[in-house]
Symmetry: C2
């Protein structure tokens, strides 16, 4: 039989990162291409204890069907946490538990975008989100990144040029892939522009708790007097990426539709995993846990930056992130990083992700590449980064 597919899926390609992720399973390759949180950051014993408590004390809640919105006490705990830690959430906001943050992007696009509607993104941006938006045949418009975040002039021009813009997708903290933090002034300006042009902001904050340098900046959602910001969070980077628990905080007026979309998609998120996360944020010392994580990621980032400072030629520039999991490096003279990435994995057995994977326009060449310091061991971060530096020097840069 010759299979016929929907338009939305026919053009989509598998994510380059997910493909590299499979490749990186080769134990001989040092995986600087990955984006997995550090295995050493997993609180395995804590998870074991909390999971057992869930199954002993609330087996029916953990194992039977529940509401699409998520477990009510868990949603209440999330609301408290967001208010306390980020000053996020007004009376008119509601919380929806999702199957990881990826589903936040999926549900928002499902609810807000018809084919051809515009989504404005930072360029480059997270490939997983871009592919989700593409799966709804959204018209993706990229706005270049500067050192302190999105280019405001270009953003306003994009908003003017695209009156069918449905939302602006932003990762203000330690952006994936660039590691860039958006300045406070730009956060305020983005909010103002969204309000002016009547578009929503989808604020994706997976890494916010992983700040290890600089000063904490307010979430855009904390400025949301007008009900125009949807906030996406996740347990992937602070507890476990494998359990797939994320959440959306959205204005009531949008939430009703998000819940219907959630219902049609997977009914609700795993209750066992929801109840585990609920205990994690209500029964443990979250601040101490996050402090420990920040220490791990700071150390790993420093190892990578030290190795880059040591071995990278001066002609190659790179970001110095204040948090998150990634460093973004740029080859000189507009050189294509795709070929470099291929040489790197073949000749040096180090995987990294060429910038083209994160381009808002698919296939657009990029001279940048993304390095991840969370997944490999400290030794491999050092060795892998040095090998990248070696190759750069062998290329005469």
């Amino acid at each position: 039989m010759e299979y016929v597919f929907s338009h939305r899926i026919s053009q989509l390609k598998p994510s380059a990162i997910r493909e590299i992720f499979k490749y990186a399973a080769d134990p001989a390759v040092i995986p600087l291409a990955a984006g997995t949180p550090a295995a050493e950051a997993l609180p395995v014993e804590l998870i074991r204890r909390l999971t057992d408590q869930v199954l002993v004390e609330t087996p029916d809640a953990a194992l039977l069907y529940s509401q699409s919105e998520g477990h009510p006490p868990f949603r209440a705990a999330l609301r408290d946490m967001l208010r306390e830690r980020l000053d996020v959430g007004r009376d008119s906001d509601e919380v929806l538990v999702t199957s990881g943050a990826q589903q936040c992007m999926d549900l928002c696009c499902k609810v807000l975008c018809n084919a051809g509607d515009t989504v404005i993104c930072e360029d480059p941006s997270f490939i997983g989100s871009l592919n989700t938006f593409r799966s709804y045949r959204a018209n993706l418009v990229g706005v270049p990144m500067e050192e302190d975040g999105i280019d405001l002039g270009a953003l306003e021009a994009a908003l003017k040029a695209n009156p069918n813009t449905r939302f602006l997708y932003l990762i203000p903290n330690y952006q994936n892939p660039t590691g860039i933090t958006m300045s406070l002034a730009k956060r305020v300006a983005c909010y103002g522009l969204a309000k002016k042009y009547g578009v929503l902001i989808l604020e994706d904050n997976p890494y916010g708790d992983l700040r290890f340098a600089g000063e904490a900046l307010p979430a855009i959602k904390s400025m949301d007097e007008d009900g125009i910001v949807i906030y996406a969070g996740t347990f992937s980077k602070i507890l476990s990426s494998g359990i797939r628990v994320g959440y959306l905080m959205a204005p009531q007026g949008v939430m009703g539709k998000l819940v219907v979309a959630k219902q049609c998609t997977d009914v609700h998120t795993s209750m066992l995993c929801q109840l585990l996360c609920q205990r994690f944020i209500t029964q443990t010392d979250l601040s101490a846990h996050l402090e420990n994580l920040r220490g791990i990621y700071k150390r790993k980032c420093d190892i990578m930056l030290d190795a880059m400072d040591e071995t990278f030629p001066r002609s190659v520039s790179y970001t110095r992130p204040q948090g998150g999991l990634f460093v973004w490096a740029t080859l000189p003279g507009g050189m294509d990083s795709a070929e470099f990435a291929t040489r790197c994995v073949k000749e040096k057995k180090v995987s990294l992700v060429p910038g083209t994977a994160f381009s808002v326009r698919e296939g657009e060449p990029s001279s940048s590449f993304r390095l991840n310091f969370s997944t490999p061991t400290d030794d491999n971060v050092r060795t892998g980064t040095r090998k990248v530096g070696e190759l750069l020097k062998e290329m005469g840069l």
Copy 2:
């Protein structure tokens, strides 16, 4: 701000059952409207032990990112289980782990249907699936049910009349909501018609393992020489509905696209829950467990049918299911069951689902209603059913 929504979500209503599910949380109401597996059927201690083993023996696999297809050893175990128990799966078939069976319907529709494409369904059919298909703006065409399954003449007429049919959605075992089992002859005929008209079959089999009467019949997927059947299974009815683990077995030619869709939707299904299910099917005596479940559901079904035989007026007809969770009753003279359901919950404090909820044409009145015997205690199944019978008699039927 006035929010604008996508066409796909604007028309969708929340599932009537999910709304009733919330209502049924009132402890004074006996919930014959639900569809939750029996709490007593949950192997809580087993789940506790297996989950702990997962976290002790394979913490990284359980808690870090994995492949969108699902954990490879789990997929292999599912393949073995399907082959052994159902003679399902050829070399050209592949397995995808999903976040519950609902996601099977979501991914299939996402991959196969453009807006306006036709999906042919049994009428009535499972509201959760119908709403998912509606969320892709599929053209739903219903084919009436007979005592032994879908009306073949009407099915062929529907296939002829709708050349843009992308798939035929069937629940051959103890269908939701009717409890009807499709005969072997009709399974063979459905396969033949799908082949003749070049459409796929999506075979949804959530209840197959819960047979407590009659003889097991082969899955349509077991006849699939031509790569035209996608099979959907779930752990919701045999292990836990709350953990949200299901799976698709589909021909290779379709699977690539399904995996891309899965990636864009939620990256992958909870690894903790996948590994729990893997141990459940590989390290426990599955046959003994299922035998125990069948005993529970047979008992509960018998209690309901006995109470119906005792108290229902002769003018009300009902099915005698060979498995699953539901009995389907029909009022005489084309009476509308929606009003009856409202009276029932108000006057008798018993919730049930009026047939209109399952109509392929939204809002089409129905004289039937669905009764669930798995969720309430045995006493409440008996008491609740008798109260329904009382009301029927008070109405002079």
